[in-house]
């Protein structure tokens, strides 16, 4: 966990992430041309969809890790810590997706928010995983917390298609085509396509980097808890008993005056 290899990997991911993001920024803001229809606004496409992708990726990792914890043969507290770390990163990126979407929406359609299927699903996704993180805050021992949050994490993931389907129907059955359609049209500029692809790669690296950091913190916290528990066990084992004379005479334990160490 705190091994040299892990540290080296984490650092390498950090350097690569920063470089990739820097290149994406340069390409996205200066090199690529403005769009014919959307103008400068199109530059948000290099961050917004990659962020949404990272959010889904993060929740996918959370679900996978949750399953691995719930399955007895692969049960290991590390899966729980990984699930939690990934969910936190996922929530951040879901939030960023919503914010960048709003920033785009305001000039593009004149409103910060619209009840589009994708937006509504993303907002619900955000709340679902905030609930997951809130559930993790309940004081419990590690195993109990791990089981409960793994179940909640898995259910949240199973919910996503149901929520999405219901919202898609809700909009499409009654309102025709949706306003927001960020799918790539084939007429997209070559430079734009490659910058977008780079954006996806860059943000995926950022995700892995953040996950490695967050996981390390979670693992260190767990180590501290484990060490504390070890200490508590030793301390508790040294607690005094009733004192030998009290056993046969059956005195009330409340009134034991001078308990002798055993």
């Amino acid at each position: 966990m705190g091994s040299k290899r892990y540290q080296r990997l984490r650092r390498a991911m950090g350097i690569v992430s920063v470089l990739l993001v820097a290149v994406t920024v340069v390409l996205g803001l200066w090199v690529t041309p403005p769009d014919v229809v959307q103008g400068q606004l199109v530059r948000l496409i290099y961050v917004h969809p990659p962020m949404a992708w990272v959010a889904y990726l993060a929740y996918g990792v959370t679900s996978l890790a949750s399953v691995l914890y719930l399955w007895r043969r692969t049960r290991n507290l590390r899966w729980d810590l990984l699930a939690a770390s990934s969910a936190e990163v996922g929530v951040i990126f879901t939030g960023l997706t919503l914010i960048t979407g709003s920033i785009w929406g305001r000039p593009a359609w004149g409103v910060w928010w619209t009840w589009d299927a994708r937006l509504t699903t993303t907002a619900l996704l955000f709340v679902l995983y905030i609930g997951y993180l809130a559930l993790r805050r309940i004081p419990a021992d590690s195993h109990q917390r791990a089981v409960r949050s793994a179940i909640a994490g898995l259910i949240a993931f199973i919910d996503v298609p149901i929520v999405h389907q219901s919202v898609v129907w809700w909009r499409t059955l009654h309102q025709g085509a949706t306003v927001l359609n960020p799918s790539l049209s084939p007429r997209i500029h070559g430079e734009m396509a490659s910058t977008l692809l780079l954006g996806f790669i860059a943000f995926t690296f950022v995700y892995v980097w953040m996950l490695l950091h967050r996981y390390q913190i979670a693992a260190l916290e767990q180590n501290v808890l484990d060490a504390e528990l070890e200490k508590l066990i030793q301390e508790r084992r040294n607690e005094p008993g009733l004192g030998s004379s009290q056993i046969e005479s059956s005195g009330d334990a409340n009134n034991v005056g001078q308990p002798s160490k055993v």
């Binding site: 719930l70 619900l124 709340v127 679902l128 905030i130 609930g131 809130a134 559930l135 309940i138 419990a140 195993h143 109990q144 791990a146 089981v147 409960r148 179940i151 909640a152 259910i155 949240a156 199973i158 919910d159 149901i162 929520v163 389907q165 219901s166 919202v167 129907w169 809700w170 059955l173």
Partner: protein, 221 residues
């Protein structure tokens, strides 16, 4: 499992018959919610008729939070859920029994609230079969998800605030689907061809299955 489910459902319903928490507290609360919605929106009959299904299901959802909380509180008092474990009651059976009990109570509550809605909002209801079938599956879904999440949150000191945060986003597809299928039904839609009903059935089945499978781990964890 089914035998245990019947035992638990029977016990919970008997407790409700005695304590009348749903009847005396949750039902009037749902009723107040319907009235307050009318205040908050507009008292023009057209608006109220149009939004009646949505407000109705929102009132049911809010009431259900109290209902499932109560269903789990029965077992946390005097640590009765430990008792159930010691007696060797099947956890899947406990889940299904609790869902059945909550379902019966919510469904009765919905019947009363439907009458209240018709009186207060005055919507014209066309397709009664669809209204009924949709309500059955929506209630089943809400009960199953509610009992599952209420148990998940039960060890928290702040469970009254945590439960809505967990349950409402999950139950929102039910709210949506039940509202839409009722809108179709109110407009006189033929029954059982409604896509929203399909969504309600999927939701109910998924949550009943998840709860039956996972309830054991939640109780034992």
């Amino acid at each position: 499992m089914w035998r245990d489910a019947l035992l638990i459902a029977g016990k919970d319903l008997r407790i409700e018959l005695r304590s009348k928490v749903t009847f005396n507290q949750i039902l009037p609360f749902g009723f107040i919610v319907l009235i307050v919605f009318a205040f908050a929106l507009d008292t023009s009959p057209d608006t109220l008729q149009m939004v009646a299904p949505g407000l109705f299901w929102l009132a049911v959802l809010i009431s259900s939070i109290l209902g499932v909380d109560r269903a789990i509180a029965i077992e946390t008092h005097d640590n009765a859920s430990d008792g159930l474990l010691v007696y060797g009651v099947d956890p899947g059976g406990i889940f299904l029994g609790k869902v059945a009990s909550v379902f019966v109570q919510l469904f009765l509550l919905e019947i009363v609230l439907t009458i209240a809605m018709i009186v207060l909002y005055g919507p014209k209801i066309g397709g009664w079969p669809l209204v009924t079938i949709s309500a059955v599956f929506a209630t089943l879904g809400i009960s199953a998800a509610g009992v599952l999440y209420s148990q998940l949150a039960s060890s928290s000191k702040a469970k009254q605030t945590l439960l809505p945060l967990l349950l409402v986003p999950v139950a929102s597809p039910v709210l949506l689907a039940a509202t839409k299928s009722w809108q179709d039904a109110f407009a006189g839609s033929a029954w059982l061809v409604d896509p929203w009903l399909r969504l309600l059935i999927v939701f109910a089945v998924v949550y009943l299955a998840l709860g039956t499978v996972f309830y054991n781990s939640i109780l034992e964890g």
